[in-house]
């Protein structure tokens, strides 16, 4: 029998369509069909200046906008060879880690809901709301903050927000305990997730899987440790890994990861250096507003940057970050003009999803939901 799952199905977390060929309740073959959310982002960005592409990146993995911003601005900064001030780097790390917690909270809530544990979603969205309120105060936007700029940040932290972040990071470890009370030793949860969707180390590497899905299979690869960016080498954290590589291991890995993200955000807040929040590079960054209003040279500089952008040197760079789903990379090719010649986005969900068929073939149809939930895809970045 052939069953069509999606594209409109609550458990596919977006518009994914999977055609399942069944023998009784066993899946013989699974064929994912993508592209329902394809917006041609790579093509679109080729016609925009480097600054204009930042808001596009928010809309890749819309649960992890700060992380996407970070990956993109790092790529452009690498292309230009700009050094970002320490304070901006620390705030970036803090925001990226808070965003990772928020993204993992959505994953945990919806994943548990898919499997039948409904209560957790309400708790998760309570904490996520705290993070989004912080983002709103810092950047003005909740889901799509577009907070980062090439060379630094759009603005400094407003007054009073540091206390709010502090209150959050202090309270959050107790909330994780709450979630664990509901799930970790829950018999139904363990029966639905242990030994389901087992994925070996070798397969995980061959399918290009990254992020918690790879670490759940026992490979210790995290871009934050392997290729540190934005001063990650100055923070103390560990990379949790799983043993078996089943749905339960991925769940545990993500929970531990939230704890470490919380710890990193706390460290960044404690050691937050003083200083400027954006590099002073006349080619790229806007002059201070007071100068623009009082000095013709600055006014011209502002006008030039806003209207035509900047001209990076010819060359190509690849910069990646550890986003909440895995390794998010931008490959930019510059031909010396003010627009990227090629704007390639390497999204983690795309590679992770390619492993889905391998994970579910031979298992029960009821497990498909558990496995899709455990690889944590967002169709916005699969289809781009």
């Amino acid at each position: 029998m052939t069953i069509n799952m999606g594209p409109q199905h609550p458990a596919t977390h977006g518009v994914l369509r999977v055609v399942l060929e069944l023998d009784g309740e066993i899946i013989v073959k699974a064929t994912p069909h993508l592209g329902h959310l394809h917006r041609g982002m790579e093509k679109l960005a080729e016609s925009k200046t480097y600054h204009q592409a930042i808001p596009l990146t928010d809309r890749l993995d819309y649960t992890n906008a700060m992380g996407n911003n970070l990956a993109y601005v790092l790529a452009v900064e690498k292309l230009l060879g700009i050094e970002v001030p320490k304070r901006a780097q620390y705030i970036r790390v803090m925001m990226a880690e808070l965003q990772r917690i928020a993204a993992h909270l959505i994953w945990l809530g919806t994943h548990a809901l898919d499997i039948g544990a409904m209560t957790l979603l309400l708790y998760n969205f309570r904490e996520r709301e705290d993070i989004l309120r912080i983002f709103e105060e810092v950047a003005g936007g909740r889901l799509t903050p577009t907070y980062l700029r090439i060379g630094g940040l759009s603005k400094d932290l407003p007054e009073g927000v540091e206390e709010k972040i502090k209150a959050f990071v202090q309270a959050f470890p107790d909330h994780i305990k709450e979630y664990e009370t509901l799930l970790t030793k829950n018999v139904i949860w363990m029966k639905r997730t242990k030994g389901v969707g087992i994925f070996s180390k070798e397969d995980a590497l061959s399918f290009g899987v990254t992020g918690p899905t790879l670490r759940g299979s026992g490979v210790k690869y995290d871009v934050r440790k392997a290729f540190p960016y934005s001063s990650y080498e100055e923070f103390d954290f560990e990379i949790p890994i799983g043993k078996v590589g089943d749905v339960y291991d991925r769940y545990i890995v993500r929970l531990r990861e939230m704890e470490w993200s919380n710890a990193i955000a706390e460290q960044a807040l404690e050691r937050l250096p003083k200083g400027p929040i954006i590099a002073n590079d006349p080619r790229v960054t806007l002059p201070p507003k007071d100068d623009v209003l009082g000095d013709i040279a600055s006014l011209i500089r502002q006008f030039k940057i806003v209207s035509e952008g900047f001209y990076p040197p010819k060359g190509e760079v690849f910069a990646s970050v550890e986003a909440s789903k895995g390794e998010l990379g931008f490959y930019l090719v510059s031909d010396g003009s003010n627009r990227p010649y090629r704007f390639r986005i390497r999204t983690p969900s795309f590679a992770n999803l390619s492993a889905l068929s391998k994970m579910i073939e031979g298992s029960l149809i009821a497990d498909v939901i558990a496995v899709i939930g455990s690889i944590d895809i967002v169709l916005g970045e699969v289809d781009r």
């Binding site: 790579e42 190509e316 090629r342 390639r344």
Partner: protein
């Protein structure tokens, strides 16, 4: 200077005639190779015990439009053991095809389908070369430079047959 990179050194020893160019820009090493050797070189980089490029981070196409050969296929490899990245580049003409590296890294299956869909680069020995983002029967390849951003048919909406 680039000889300090172990992968480049080993490649030069093993395939002396196949390394067309080695470039370093912003500490990233790019090796250009002819397309006939792509599979062999990828196999070597993947299986050599000192290199172990087990992860194909990315594979994508590049359209150079007015140049010949027109396309370039770019491979981003990552060695988890050595924390090293390597970029391979190879050129493909408009009517030519290139051998698939699916037998080395399975993820190449989808990446190559994407390059086929959006740029029209075809891959030999690929197990399932279909469009991936766009629907079957779509005409044109959107990421090509001669494809208009707003689409060729933006004033005549297309409704796929159901």
């Amino acid at each position: 200077m680039t000889e300090t990179n172990l992968a480049v050194k080993k490649l030069k020893e093993k395939f002396p005639n196949s390394i067309l160019e080695v470039k370093t820009f912003r500490n990233e090493v790019t090796v250009s190779i002819p397309k006939k050797d792509i599979l062999e070189i990828c196999r070597f980089l993947h299986s050599d015990p000192d290199l172990q490029y087990h992860l194909l981070t990315d594979l994508c196409g590049l359209d150079h439009f007015s140049r010949t050969p027109r396309f370039e296929v770019v491979y981003h490899l990552c060695s988890i053991k050595r924390n090293q990245r390597l970029r391979l580049k190879t050129r493909v003409g408009e009517s030519e095809s290139i051998v698939s590296v699916e037998s080395v890294w399975k993820v190449a299956n989808w990446y190559e389908r994407e390059a086929y869909d959006l740029l029209g680069i075809s891959f030999e020995n690929h197990s399932d070369l279909r469009r991936i983002m766009l629907w079957d029967g779509y005409e044109g390849h959107p990421l090509r430079k001669d494809f208009p951003v707003e689409g060729p048919d933006f004033d005549k909406p297309f409704v796929p047959e159901v």
